[in-house]
Symmetry: C2
Subunit: 202 residues, 2 copies
Amino acid sequence: MTDHKPIDFYFEFSSPYGYFASLKIDGLAATFGRRVNWRPFMLGAVFKFTGGAPFMNIPLKGDYFRRDVERCAKLLDVPFTYPDVTPMNSLAACRAYYWLSDDDPGKAKELAQSVYNAFWGLGRDMSDADEVARVATAHHIDGEALVAATQDDAVKQRLKDETDAAIERGVFGSPFFFVDDEPFWGHDRMDQLERWLGTGGW
Amino acid sequence: MTDHKPIDFYFEFSSPYGYFASLKIDGLAATFGRRVNWRPFMLGAVFKFTGGAPFMNIPLKGDYFRRDVERCAKLLDVPFTYPDVTPMNSLAACRAYYWLSDDDPGKAKELAQSVYNAFWGLGRDMSDADEVARVATAHHIDGEALVAATQDDAVKQRLKDETDAAIERGVFGSPFFFVDDEPFWGHDRMDQLERWLGTGGW
């Protein structure tokens, strides 16, 4: 490991491209001696600034994106089931993440990976805190405490602050990365991100 | 050449990713014995359906995209100058294209390539019909006739019809391709398009 800054990885749980990115960003970063700082955020809050909307709900785009996501999953050869309910509400998952992350960032990341796997890998709606708690127990996380934390005012505020900070930094989609201060948006910019890591910019 | 259907290539002149795509789609198609059917359209008309807007005008996205476009141009090693005026109004260029395309699709394509080169390669505003006429003369196209054609009712209607047909087919961005009936959106899906051509789907 060098003393390079970690890569910031911003993602929305409801984003399939964020899911694809989550499966490889750690490995990619490690190749270049970097760690990854996982940052879930609420994309819906960003849409208030950009006038955007979940792609599933946009005329013309909705059909295309479903096809595109399924093609990408097939090419990447990763677990994938298109969920019946999209977009999911990622509030509970995000709050649970930040409830854990200060004390145990590794466990928070494991939870994020399991939520992604349940939603985009298995197609299960993960909007409910009880569902998040269910996957959390596999990581020896206290499910009842998790559910309670999702209603805790400090945890709610923490997620708001994290999302505001993401917007402040220019994050407008998922996944979104910063390598030092260089921004990369989209799973399909990970090749450029990799090149940037290799060359230190160009 | 086989008897495969041509690849449909939809593009907006104001789109830098359309420009990047225009530089390689013919060569890529030829590798697989395909021709390319160039289809300029008015992306602004599409935005009325999708609620979209030129990325240059969207909060947060505007700054990022400018950076992204410049990075892509550098990696692709293609002529590139970020124009002072974006987005350009592509009405005159599109009308001139369809005025030419039935009688001489090859010449229409040369005009499209020159307009792209002038706008995204050299950074010159090409909104005005006189500017389109200026680059057209290099291809032995009658500039005065071109300017007149951009005000011809039949030509105006033709562009409307072409844009409506694109929307009808699901085109919502630039570049947009169909390989047979398979849709691909974006310069960054040309790798998947290439793979599709090679395998006939997957």
